[in-house]
Amino acid sequence: MIPAVEVAAERNYLNEETGVLSWLFTTDHKRIGLLYVASISVFFFLGGLFALLIRLQLLTPNGLLFDSETYNKLFTMHGIIMVWFFLIPSIPNTLGNFLIPMMLGAKDVAFPKLNLLSWYVFNLGALVTLYSIFRGGVDTGWTFYTPFSTTFSTTYVIAAAAGIFIAGFSSIMTGLNFIATVHRMRAPGMTWFRLPMFIWSHYATSLILVLATPILAVTLLLVAVERIFQVGIFDPALGGDPVLFQHMFWFYSHPAVYIMILPAMAVVSELVPAFSRKPLFGYEFVAFASISIAAIGFLVWGHHMFTAGTSPYAAEVFSFLSYLVAVPSAIKVFNWTATMYKGSISWDTPMLYAIGFIGLFAIGGVTGLFLAALGIDVHVQDTYFVVGHFHFIMVGGTVLAYLGGMHYWWPKISGKMYPEGLARLSALVAFIGFILTFFPQYILGYLGMPRRYAVYPPEFQVWHVLSSAGASILGIGYILPFCYLLWSWHYGKPAPPNPWKSTGLEWKTSSPPPKHNFEETPVVTTGPYQFGEMKEELDLG
């Protein structure tokens, strides 16, 4: 029997089959996760390129490079690519795909072929959107507000919307797959309250994916119909109601913010206990906080329209509900902090990203409450304050958590260790670059700098220069991990099965895991995060 074990240990999901076709036709959730990493990395750097051009333009009050029309296209394409082709799939389709079956003790997701199909559909949608970009771009803003998008814009609105429409099916397939997987693919003994928090948060994310994305699909369909046939749906000149578009758009797009942040919380909920050597404080509260965020998140979309002429009574209700959704988010922040309290904290790279996330998410969340307050919102609506707020959540939150998760699970994914010193340095660079880029935007917004303008009064220049300088530092913080992670794929030290001495089923198998994750289906007898009970096992091993 011993030779069989040795052979099994050498074979893993990366070398079981080789060649390009073995990747393009794979149904292995781990490989599909890596295919998504490749796709979204391309879109992240493309979206980042647009951000770079925006920040270059804003270095000087009168604009260095572009006229207003081109600038409109730049921020639109930055938004479209970053939201739909990076942020929405970022954590769920990469780390989620890779880890959910492993954390459940399953061989694969519920529907492996659907999983692969989702990747192809995603790339098809991306290609259609890229077509619109290379033909000259779109200038409506990522929000496609009517009647500009349906009647007045002369750019490639339909192609861009069609790409997003197609990519939406990929989101639905992923959400459906995850829900079915969590319900039906759990290993024996893996009860709901033994699930790692990563699973709970992704379950909540998946609920939003399947419930909200169809609404985006019909909204974009109606925009396309109005634009193609020149009939009245949202155009007031033809009897339509443009605010109805905003309701429908934000009914998807506000929950979509939680599609972006819940998986980030999923990652942080794993990192904080692992590097504090303590069980997650208040497990049930954090679990139900995820579900509450998903549920209440569907009821707050009206706060995007406080200044669009909705009724003041509706605005008050939406304002109240927007405050309410902050409660479960705050519960999570408090519980992560309480988990660290008197923990045995180690400052490895993933923990640096996790702590960065908690700080930036707290600032981004609290400024979200400013915007939910009716009076303040009138002052800062459509200013850089809003831009700063959502970049704190999406970049400071989601991107930092994505990088933290990538570092934490990199030994499992690649079977190699990344260079720890360089990684800590790059986490610090990203954090400093982030603060420098986006904190001045709050000040700019509060002083009255509107968003989406190519030129601005000279007195704002100092803040814009700070922001652009920060953006170049932030860029280095992104390029560094990209380079050394790729380097370590070939040259890194081989990783042991459990380099962080973590709990969780994904660490109980080899690095990288075998094709079906486990040599035999694990049987679960305890909850997650039992760090105290691990000591003996570690001393032995």
Partner: protein
Amino acid sequence: MANPAALSLREHFRTPEQQRETSSIGMWIFIITEVMLFSGLFMAFTVYRSMYPQAFIEGSAEMSIALGATNTIVLICSSFTMALSVYSAATGNRRMLAIFLIATMILGAAFLGIKFTEYYQHYRDHQAPGVWFDWRGRDAAQVEMFFVFYFIMTGLHAVHMFVGEGLLFTMLLRTAAGSFSARYHTPVELVGLYWHFVDIVWVFLFAIFYIEGLHLHHG
């Protein structure tokens, strides 16, 4: 040895029951997404119907209640034959399964035939929105909006019918190939769920588009 249930068990499942339950929950989640898809359109329709009640009733009066009612009956009958298909599959009666699948397909095709006849009539009467639209009465823009929603919503429903016909045809081929038995017939059950869902959507479409203007009917 040739146990279809064992042969069709995919490698990532532990038991046939787990596989069947997983497929089933997947189909239900899919139907929920479909409900959300149509409900967005129903919501937008309802908003405009409450804004322009008179124009929407005028538009509704242009519907052919005879064809619409016939189609409703046709679809309800097809749901019945679909239920009989699932029953035949569950009892392992492959001959009856094939017969009822064919009956369901014929009824579905009849529905689509009648539907496209209606579309042609609206086009002929200048009621198709866009450049073809020509309305001599009052509130032309609002009546046109009624027809926009009529074509989008029944059109989306018709797309689902075409997909359903394709699924039924696949089931028929697999029945002929002997893939199904009393122990393994999950795909037939799932296609049945889908078909019933599409039928139920039609009942709502019939109510909002055809019945609304019945009392103003011009003939």
